[in-house]
């Protein structure tokens, strides 16, 4: 059974490649800069990118099903706006959270229904959703609204002490819980496996008698829910709501998922890949800030190159 020994790595190869890349990037930083190889730097990767981790988890569902969701960045902005203005108006925190999550999932549901029932490219529908959500932000306020609510600020600034003197925020805990939940749903449940089936071949999935409608609409609801949750985390991180928050973040999320080894064509990939993808992006950012003299825009250039390399690698793997 030579196929058995060949198969196991080949399936995980893209994810493994990303992990190796992360280790290399981190090792490079540790060798080069003092204080890079500390637990807190790693913890900061999570703290500074918690919202992106959540976005990437939601995006993984959509991309695995063969779709794409361009609206997530705008939904993050809208969520910060709803959070900030809700708290400003004196709503209790639980109500604000509920309102934000409902807004995000409803937007996702609407986009999913339009994509499915009118059979329109997800690219177009979520592009429309992106403009809609961005526009809604400015309907609420064109100014940046800062968050002054006590409870909210307490949660935002609370530090959880880990062994070794490393501290993380609640954001990190929530993000990791989301990743765990996404892994369970995607890898262990019927819904999750059907997402893979639809991404592999939608017509086959339909003829196999699988509930494709539920899955195709469901992934956008999940992505919308994750976007609004990411928006809440982003509010905690920025402590403000603003219509120009998170511009272009959808592309960071897509980049993280793709660098994490998920095929843009759908059907192949892992939630964990998206997480590692985010960490790679974060490490590059940290490297450039440690370097000190390079413009932070170098991050974008490196991400661009990485993205291209990973797509090229995926391409050759698929052709093989």
């Amino acid at each position: 059974m030579t196929t058995l020994t060949q198969r196991v790595p080949s399936r995980f190869l893209p994810v493994l490649a990303t992990v190796v890349l992360f280790v290399l990037a981190f090792g490079f930083g540790s060798a080069r800069y003092d204080g890079f190889a500390s637990g807190q730097v790693i913890a900061n990767l999570f703290i500074d990118n918690a919202f992106l981790i959540v976005l990437a988890a939601g995006m993984t569902f959509v991309i695995l099903s063969g779709g794409i969701d361009l609206s997530v960045g705008s939904v993050v902005a809208l969520s910060t706006m709803v959070t900030a203005s809700g708290l400003q108006a004196g709503w209790p925190v639980p109500l604000v959270v509920l309102a934000v999550l409902l807004t995000g999932s409803t937007l996702g549901l609407l986009m999913g229904l339009v994509i499915h029932h009118f059979d329109i490219q997800p690219f177009i529908v979520t592009l429309a959703g992106m403009f809609l959500a961005r526009g809604l932000c400015f309907l609420i306020s064109v100014e940046s609204v800062s968050i002054k609510d006590k409870t909210f600020r307490n949660v935002a600034t609370a530090a959880i002490e880990l062994p070794g003197g490393v501290t993380i925020t609640y954001n990190v805990v929530i993000a990791l819980l989301v990743v765990a939940a996404a892994m369970y749903v995607l890898h262990r449940t019927r819904f999750g496996r059907t997402v893979y089936a639809v991404g592999g071949s939608e017509s086959s999935a339909l003829l196999m008698g699988l509930p494709t409608t539920r899955v195709k609409v469901g992934v956008y609801v999940i992505s919308g829910l994750c976007s609004s949750l990411a928006g809440l985390l982003f509010s905690l991180y920025m402590l403000s709501g603003y219509g120009l928050h998170a511009v272009g973040m959808e592309l960071d999320a897509i980049a993280a998922v793709v660098i994490g080894g998920t095929l843009l064509a759908g059907g192949v990939g892992y939630v964990l890949g998206g997480l590692v993808g985010v960490l790679v992006l974060g490490t590059i950012q940290t490297l450039i800030s440690f370097q000190g003299t390079l413009s932070s825009w170098w991050t974008k250039i490196v991400i661009g190159v990485l993205l291209l390399v990973f797509i090229a690698v995926q391409r050759t793997m698929v052709r093989r």
Partner: protein, 510 residues
């Protein structure tokens, strides 16, 4: 064959129209438990549509479907499956990115605590696979297995539930003889367990071997229902195509009259490629039809691809008109007048989303280069000529190739190569998966072309066809040319024996 049990499926007065086409008109159909029922008809006769009406993919405009005496109206394949109708479609409809076990059981997998119980699922899948005699690792990814095994996995999926009706829509088109025998064994077991099996195949031998009863459709209408034992082939074909077999006999006569001689147009000397085909010698003269016979995987397509330059030979040489020709790729082959019509007409031949006209002129335009566009009038003349010559239906040059039936797509592909007026035409499985009528037309065309002086290399899995049409038959086994026979005096049995390895042939030493 007793008719005592009531039919498990009864379809009455089924009509269904698609935009511009009446796919089914007032069709009745019955399926009895414990019987293999063959659904016969040409391509486009409505077989697949009728099946899809039964399995909930389409909903009929008129008529009633009943299952075990109760009226049903399925709105999705899922509902039909729950009611006990399992289907294996013509093309493998599984997800290659999932594991074998998932493909068999997804949608009804064993669960524990809300999640899928993967160990139990693999065990269950292994049981089902063992039942049909397939021994592969259920945890392996489906894409690792060849199409034939994937087809068996699709059948495993179909019988993984306790189905009362099993629909097999051309399950044998990608299987070799041994696998077909295995499938038939499984079908007989299921039939004896009382399952009603609906079977569609273009291979008449298989239909006669396995089926108990048959229903014949033509142009979306019911022609008749018979016990298989009561109908001979001639009657059946006449019913299917609505005309007699004179055409087929004329083809055979033509093959006998043709006696091409003269120097070889194309000659291969020790041409070979490691891992694809052992070095072989081959002469093809102008006006000659050379048939290539052999099992799936015997190197038929590989040989053709070498002649066309699609693969690079690593030994031997190719001569055209006696002069050595270095093939750098299909472009140089086309320039030398060699055309290759691929067996995979969807993947390698046609552009499905272009019109018949655009597909037709594609090869010719490529030969001229983009700087010299074909004038519209020339295009129209060409298209009109070939639409008529090949009887392509619909005869509308603007129809998208995607919407055509398999036989008509094949004709468009042929026409596309004919436009370039090739001197050697390689036809790889030109008649696979197409109906009897279109088959006869394509064979007719091959003989006409040969009479006009085109050299033809004809590859087909159907030996009868090869024997009928070819002047000379090259037999391949295990990626090696093992014999060359005179087509006019050779019978199918002789070729079969060679392929099976019974007789000692004149060996071409590698």
């Amino acid at each position: 064959m007793t008719e005592s049990p009531p039919p498990v499926v009864e379809m009455r007065g089924i009509s269904l129209a698609f935009p511009g086409v009446k796919a089914l008109q007032d069709v009745d159909f019955r399926l009895f438990p414990g019987e293999v029922h063959a659904l016969m008809g040409e391509n486009g006769a409505g077989k697949s549509t009728l099946i899809k009406t039964l399995t909930g993919v389409h909903r009929p405009d008129a008529g009633q479907v009943s299952l075990a005496g109760e009226d049903v109206a399925f709105s999705s394949p899922g509902e039909a499956q729950h009611a006990g109708i399992s289907t294996v479609y013509q093309e493998v409809n599984l997800c290659a990115n999932l594991t074998v076990a998932e493909n068999i059981l997804l949608g009804r997998e064993p669960r524990r605590l809300g999640g899928i119980d993967f160990p139990a699922m693999r065990r269950r899948a292994a049981e089902v696979l063992a039942r049909i005699g397939v021994h592969i690792d259920p945890a392996s990814s489906l894409s690792e297995h060849p199409i034939a095994v994937q087809q068996l996995v699709a059948i495993a999926r179909a019988i993984a539930i306790d189905c009362s009706v099993l629909v097999l829509d051309e399950p044998t088109s990608s299987l070799d003889a041994g696998e077909v025998a295995e499938l038939f064994r499984i079908m007989r077991v299921l039939r004896d367990e009382g399952v009603a099996i609906l079977f569609v195949s273009h291979f008449l031998d298989q239909v006669y071997e396995i089926s108990d009863r048959m229903t014949v459709l033509r142009n979306g209408t019911l022609v008749g229902e018979h016990l298989t034992a009561d109908v001979d082939r001639r009657t059946l074909i006449a019913q299917m195509i609505g005309r007699d077999l004179g055409t087929l006999e004329a083809i055979e006569d033509a093959a006998e009259k043709r006696k091409p001689s003269g120097p070889a147009l194309v000659r291969a000397e020790g041409l070979g490629k490691r891992g694809a085909i052992e070095p072989f010698d081959l002469d093809i003269r102008a006006g000659e039809v050379v048939g290539l016979a052999g099992l799936l995987g015997s190197g038929r397509t590989e040989l053709a691809r070498l002649l066309f330059g699609a693969d690079r030979a690593d030994s031997g040489r190719l001569l055209v008109d006696g002069a050595p020709l270095k093939l750098r790729g299909p472009r140089s082959a086309i320039a030398a007048g060699i055309a290759f019509s691929s067996e995979d007409r969807k993947g390698e031949g046609l552009v499905a989303d272009l019109s018949i006209r655009d597909n037709l002129v594609l090869a010719m335009q490529a030969a001229r280069g983009w700087t010299r566009p074909l004038p519209r009038r020339t295009k129209d003349q060409l298209v009109e000529k070939y639409l008529k010559a090949l009887d392509i239906r619909p005869a509308n040059p603007d129809a998208l190739v995607r919407t055509l039936s398999g036989g008509n797509q094949q004709k468009v592909l042929l026409a596309r190569w004919l436009v370039t007026e090739p001197r050697l035409l390689i036809l790889d499985e030109p008649t696979r998966g197409i109906d009897v009528g279109a088959k006869a037309q394509i064979q007719q065309l091959v003989t006409t072309l040969a009479a006009e002086g085109t050299a033809i290399l004809f590859i087909s899995a159907e030996l009868e066809e090869v024997v009928r049409i070819a002047d000379r038959i090259v037999v391949l086994r295990d990626r090696r040319k093992i014999a060359e026979l005179d087509g006019s005096v050779t019978g199918v049995d002789e070729v079969v024996e060679l392929i099976a390895g019974g007789a000692a042939p004149e060996k071409v030493v590698s």
